[in-house]
């Protein structure tokens, strides 16, 4: 199958495919970060995670329309405002959901899974009623259009680069929050010993709620970033949820670095295989390999051996 291509072309194909993989990687990282916080640190399975992302995407859509309508001069900058609003909207919804639902179910992880699935159905239907069943797309500001020619054969789309930059930026932000802030310290303390954390004066209830809210907020930002590379529909969130969970589990729950490493390996494997196989077989093979490795190493790629 290589015979038809020259070496230069082949190199270019791999580079482009690798770049497509990098975009997919950024998408995975963005989706998985929020989940890594919620599942990794709290052990809560949020099946509605995709819908929190979609909320961010719809908020971005609304903000872009507002800017186009009332502040066309500032349109090129609307995205940054939209990101903040996406974080706030998804975060607030997250706080509410934690208060109304999740906090009652901390001791029943499987039930949380079912309840949040129910939540995802409700959110999907709400989006459909409000925004219609059709997918909506945002107008991308001019500076994000087009592509950057690296060589004669290799071109990379600017919006792709932008999403990558966002992924790196948000990862750094989450890292700093987790490992440098007071909140991060409290979250990790609660993760290790809830009773003790409570005893030394950490408000565990409020920290849980905040953690869930921040995780959902990060999902909202991810959804906002997605509008730059694709359109948004009411059920788009469901498409990603399995991949996202596999990314987090594969990386080893609780390890931020593991999440990023696993997002990288899964996305690269998938996009490179996509070149050789049909899209669906590439996906099947990737998932099978991930599941296979998880069977051999259930704790994921990165995790500490702890004394029981």
């Amino acid at each position: 199958m290589f015979a038809d291509y020259s070496m230069a072309e082949l190199g270019a194909i791999f580079a482009m495919q690798g770049f497509a993989g990098l975009i997919l990687f950024s998408v995975f990282v963005l989706m998985a970060l929020g989940l890594a916080i919620i599942f990794g640190q709290m052990g809560v399975i949020n099946m509605a995670h995709g819908e929190f992302m979609i909320l961010g995407a719809y908020v971005t859509y609304l903000v872009s329309n507002l800017f186009a309508e009332y502040m066309p001069a500032l349109f090129s900058m609307y995205f940054f405002v939209a990101m903040i609003f996406a974080f706030i909207a998804s975060g607030l919804l997250g706080l509410f959901v934690e208060w109304a639902m999740i906090r009652h179910l901390y001791k029943r992880p499987l039930d949380t899974l079912l309840a949040t699935w129910g939540l995802s159905l409700i959110l999907q239907q709400t989006y459909r009623s409000v925004f219609g069943a059709r997918e909506v797309g945002v107008s991308i500001p001019d500076w994000m259009m087009g592509s950057l020619p690296l060589t004669d054969l290799i071109e990379v789309p600017i919006n792709g680069i932008f999403v990558m930059v966002l992924a790196v930026g948000i990862s750094l932000a989450v890292y700093i929050m987790m490992f440098r802030s007071r909140w991060g310290k409290q979250v990790r303390a609660i993760n290790q010993n809830r009773v003790m954390a409570g005893a030394v004066g950490i408000n565990t209830e409020w920290t849980d709620r905040l953690t869930f809210g921040i995780g959902c907020g990060v999902a909202g930002v991810a959804g906002s970033a997605f509008t730059m590379i694709g359109s948004t529909g009411p059920t788009a969130g469901q498409l990603y949820i399995v991949d996202t969970f596999l990314v987090v589990v594969f990386g080893g729950a609780g390890s931020l670095l593991g999440t990023i490493a696993s997002a990288f390996s899964i996305s690269q494997a998938q996009s490179i295989m996509e070149f050789f196989l049909s899209g669906s077989m590439a996906k099947v093979l990737t998932l099978l390999v991930v599941v296979g490795i998880l069977m051999i190493r259930p704790q994921g790629l990165f995790s500490l051996k702890l004394r029981k």
Binding site: L304, K305, L306, R307, K308
Partner: protein, 246 residues
């Protein structure tokens, strides 16, 4: 010729991320011996029991029960070979009755299809009633275990071990958290059941230890600090310094 030791622990080591909770530990248990392990908190006492019964995987060393290497066996294989283990916190099946708790420990029908075909015949019933009597729960057979008191749960767990009839019995703080009256009754019960078998006990209650121990092993930071009769250990200056002294 009868074998000299029922359990041979040699160079047993386990490390958690470089921290050696048990460090090249060796000790030997004779048939019908009651070995008590004492030591300050974090000395690795419970970890030793976890290693012997397969709950924690050892990093190095060997544990031989008769001539079987236990370290490569699964927990259930170790139990069926004749090693019983009682946990520190009472661990019984709360949703099942006392009768059912004992029945599940009865050494028959332990395979999948064995369990499907298992029948409660007169022999099973008799044995369960007999054990229930021994552990002072003869009148509570139909009670759900969740409704028992802390002490009664401990007794039930001891009963579950008795019905297994293990050759080597390992008890982790069997009288912890009990009232004085319960403690006395438990000591009496334990004294009765440790006859005719080898026992390893972890215990802090020195009066109780002096009462039952054939030999005592003092653990400190995953290593043996001292070993011998109660009297000898109590007078060992090293032991006095780290443990009994304060």
């Amino acid at each position: 010729m009868q074998e000299r030791f029922i359990l041979q622990v040699e160079d047993l080591t386990v490390s958690f991320d470089g921290f050696k909770a048990v460090d090249a530990l060796s000790f030997y248990v004779e048939p019908n011996e009651c070995r008590v392990i004492i030591g300050p908190n974090g000395a690795g006492k419970t970890t030793v029991l976890d290693l012997i019964c397969g709950r924690t995987k050892a990093t190095a060393g060997s544990v031989k029960f008769h001539d079987q290497e236990l370290l490569t066996m699964r927990e259930d294989q170790i139990v069926n070979a004749g090693v019983g283990r009682k946990f520190q916190t009472p661990s019984v099946y709360e949703d099942l009755t006392v009768f059912e708790n004992l029945e599940l420990s009865y050494p028959k029908g332990h395979s999948v299809f064995g369990a499907l075909a298992f029948k409660r015949d007169a022999e099973v019933r008799e044995r369960i009633e007999e054990i229930a009597g021994t552990i002072f729960l003869g009148d509570q057979l139909d009670e759900k275990a969740a409704f028992l008191s802390h002490g009664q749960k401990q007794w039930l767990e001891i009963g579950m071990l008795l019905i297994q009839d293990p050759e080597l019995l390992m008890l982790d703080e069997p009288v912890a958290g009990m009232s004085v009256a319960e403690r006395k009754k438990t000591a009496e019960l334990l004294n009765r059941i440790i006859q005719d078998r080898s026992v390893i006990v972890i215990e802090h209650d020195m009066g109780f230890v002096a009462d039952i121990a054939t030999r005592v092993t003092v653990l400190h930071q995953g290593k043996t600090l001292s070993e011998g009769s109660m009297e000898r250990v109590q007078n060992d200056p090293k032991v006095v310094e780290v443990y009994l002294g304060h």
